[in-house]
């Protein structure tokens, strides 16, 4: 680029490069905290292309043929694991599943040993879900494979946030200035943290809402508004994202009962009537009658199933970019 003589052309090209990245600048996807807007836009743009593949009769492309992916799940997960697995299969990658519940310590083998054993079988990408925040970061120090975070404790769940961003932009267009409220147990939510990073990067305004006991210390320093009143969160809001309440937390010191939670923080039909443009999202699985009234789940402005479809497309895109394969349909002859 330094040899470029025509300044105008150089500037034009630079602008073009900034807005139309061809590859992401990371070897791993550990979280959205370090991903830039152009990188996120690139992943979403590729996801839209892959979504077309999902509508074909034969839903498979040869893009990742010869690439081996292991899904390393240390926490029970059905939909995220299935979504990744489908994404891998649609891209013709070879996939292996490894599931272990409980901590590595109780299992007798350390995470490092598990990862190194699997890598010794020649793995290119590890998709990891783990109860410890930072476990994917730790894996980057243990193995050479590329790491994709499929959820680490209450830290990040970046592919969930990416599929949420895709779902929102599909409905709303660019997210600049759009208002998104995330409602529920923010303290224990990796979905919330990844969405905060992603939404802020895309120019949206984020409000967090939930009982005081579920709002973590100093979260407002992440550049979000915090309220304990649902109406304040929904007023003027474009998207309400309800988070799943872990049922086992009922009766703990965090909240008294599911009944009271639904009364205070559940999105009900009267909210949809009052806020005519409000979209409702949920990372699933939904507790009907807790986070969302059952009729709200089935309402046309609830886009929960679109989120699920977009999940496969987004994960295909992430796998594609992390695998580092240049796009075939590159327009200029570079």
């Amino acid at each position: 680029m330094s040899g470029m003589s025509d300044t105008t052309e150089a500037q034009a090209r630079q602008t073009n490069e900034e807005s139309m990245l061809e590859s992401i600048q990371h070897n791993h996807l550990l979280g959205l905290a370090t991903y830039s807007r152009p990188e996120i836009e690139l992943i979403l743009s590729t996801a839209r292309q892959f979504r077309e593949v999902l509508d074909r009769p034969i839903k498979r492309v040869p893009t990742l043929r010869g690439v081996t992916v292991v899904n390393l799940f240390f926490e029970p997960s059905t939909r995220t694991r299935i979504s990744f697995e489908l994404a891998e299969k649609r891209l013709s990658a070879d996939t292996v599943n490894f599931s272990a519940s409980g901590s590595s310590v109780s299992k007798g083998e350390t995470l490092k040993d598990t990862a190194q054993n699997i890598e010794a079988m020649k793995i290119d990408i590890v998709v990891v879900r783990h109860q410890s925040p930072g476990a994917p970061h730790f894996l980057t120090q243990c193995v050479d494979a590329a790491i994709i975070n499929a959820g680490d404790g209450a830290h990040e769940h970046p592919t969930q946030a990416l599929l949420d961003l895709l779902t929102m932009t599909d409905r709303l267009g660019p997210l600049d200035g759009k208002r998104v409220s995330i409602i529920g147990d923010i303290s224990h939510s990796r979905v919330a943290r990844s969405n905060i990073h992603g939404l802020k990067a895309m120019g949206a305004e984020v409000t967090l809402c939930g009982p005081r006991t579920m709002i973590p210390f100093g979260i407002n320093e992440m550049g979000v508004r915090v309220t304990n009143r649902l109406d304040e969160a929904l007023e003027g809001c474009d998207v309400a994202m309800a988070l799943r309440i872990q049922l086992e937390r009922q009766g703990s010191v965090l909240f008294p009962s599911l009944r009271e939670y639904h009364e205070t923080f559940g999105i009900k039909m009267h909210h949809l009537h009052r806020y005519q443009d409000l979209l409702v999202m949920h990372p699933g699985p939904v507790n009907r009658g807790v986070e969302l009234a059952s009729e709200v789940v089935d309402h046309e402005r609830a886009v929960i199933l679109s989120q699920v479809t977009n999940g496969v497309a987004v994960r295909m895109s992430v796998l594609y970019h992390i695998a580092g394969i240049k796009r075939n349909e590159s327009t200029d002859g570079d």
């Binding site: 901590s103 350390t110 404790g153 210390f217 320093e221 992440m222």
Partner: protein, 434 residues
């Protein structure tokens, strides 16, 4: 290793009691200081050239974990003492969370005996409760006669307020402090780092400063009620320093120590290191505001001792995901270099004040005699300077475990040797010659 007669020549002799630094030679004969004056000639006696260096009474770290008996894969008393020597310490007090715990006299005597093979005095701190279970008192009188210098269930708090009351009443008969690991467990059900903005960003369950402060407030009240001596182990928050300061002003028998890492690093280190388990300790690294308050507490005497909470863990135990990792780091070998870098060079403390926090401070808390650099006193000495800049490397480590965040860090000030019980240990760069 036995060196009964030795002449320390040309050093600056630091007296923490008088608060003076005087250039003088120190002649030791049969392990006892015979003369402290200028230009001593002692033909035939080995000479240690102390030019440009300081000599003080031997340092003490009143809070270490030496893991023996029971967890010798982490540390033994021999390797722990080697680390203490390298750190300039002639004495340590070791915590009783061994296996078996230090809750019977035979374990106390075993530990003392192991320490006697080295120039480091190893003083056992015995359990407050049998099996460290927090239920019944140990035989404190017998343990004291065996050589225990204090009582603690460290690693865990004395959580039951009624037990704490009885422990303070009983130990006050013996003149020994109860050292409490200050933590209200109900306020920290499963935390792994300081609860604050960083833990929120990282999604790591937090340990609020409140858990420590509530327990300190309780123990201050129990101390006031019983008159017993409560010592706050590893104080880590600004509010906790305030509580201790106020209690002392009211004449309550409470003292406090701080670990070197708690005035050096903050919780930001967890994020900066990408969840390194080498910055996971208990209490956790706190905030800049807490460090400022701790420094003020060191300046005004609220905190009387600097310790390390030297907590060795094997590599395989620490090379795990953050939540699964045990708490604690080693600290004996980096203590003085961090004190120099964080406290002396920036002008928080003078060298004399810093040395007090390693000599008279901990010994006064434990009611132990202070070694003096004076004719007729048994020679118990540390040789050091407060200015040498050096880099701590993994090759330096004498401890059996390597769990420290300070590998590659610059240290300011270096211990060069110790002398105690007729044993001389010198760093390679210093030699003794006739």
């Amino acid at each position: 290793m036995k060196t009964s007669n030795v002449l320390f020549k040309g050093g600056q002799v630091l007296d923490p009691v008088a608060g003076t630094i005087t250039v003088a030679d120190v002649l030791v004969q049969d392990g006892v200081i015979s003369r402290v004056e200028s230009d001593i000639e002692a033909p035939g006696v080995d000479i240690v050239d102390c030019n440009g260096k300081m000599i003080s009474p031997g340092w003490m770290d009143m809070h270490v974990h030496f893991r023996e008996p029971g967890q010798e894969h982490k540390e033994t008393i021999a390797t722990g003492c080697a680390a203490a020597m390298a750190g300039g310490f002639t004495a340590v007090a070791c915590m009783p969370n061994t296996d078996p715990p230090i809750h019977t006299r035979d374990v106390v005597e075993f530990i003392i005996e192991r320490g006697e093979k080295t120039p480091v005095d190893v003083h056992p701190i015995a359990c407050v409760s049998r099996e460290r279970e927090g239920k019944e008192l140990t035989e404190m009188s017998d343990l004291t006669e065996g050589g225990a210098v204090a009582f603690s269930d460290d690693g865990d708090p004395v959580y039951d307020a009624g037990l704490m009351r009885r422990a303070l009443e009983y130990s006050s008969m013996l003149g020994k402090p109860i050292i409490n690991h200050m933590e209200d467990l109900s306020l920290n059900p499963h935390g792994h780092m300081h609860e604050g903005v960083v833990s929120t960003r990282l999604g790591v369950p937090g340990i609020p400063g409140l858990a420590e402060e509530v327990m300190i407030a309780r123990d201050i009240l129990i101390s006031e009620f019983t008159g017993g001596h409560v010592h706050v182990a590893h104080i880590s928050t600004g509010r906790a320093v305030d509580l201790v300061r106020d209690a002392k002003a009211r004449g309550i028998n409470v003292t406090a120590e701080v670990c070197t890492h708690h005035f050096t690093l903050t919780d930001q280190a967890v994020e900066d290191s990408s969840y390194s388990t080498a910055v996971k300790m208990h209490p956790p690294l706190r905030t800049d505001a807490d460090i400022l308050a701790i420094k003020e507490g060191l300046r005004d005497g609220t905190i009387q001792a600097i310790c390390t909470d030297h907590a060795p863990h094997a590599s395989f135990e620490k090379e795990v995901e953050f939540i699964a990792a045990p708490f604690g780091i080693i600290g004996l070998e980096t203590a003085w270099g961090l004190i120099g870098r964080e406290l002396i060079r920036p002008g928080v403390l003078s060298v004399i004040d810093a040395v007090r926090l390693l000599t008279t401070g901990p010994r006064d808390i434990l009611g132990m005699p202070n070694p003096a650099i004076a004719s007729g006193s048994p020679a118990n000495l540390t040789i050091f300077d407060a200015t040498t800049e050096w880099t701590f490397t993994e090759a330096d480590i004498k401890s059996k475990s390597h769990n420290t965040p300070f590998i590659g860090s610059t240290m300011v000030g270096r211990p060069f040797g110790i002398y105690n019980r007729e044993m001389l240990w010198l760093r390679e760069s210093v030699t003794a010659a006739a």
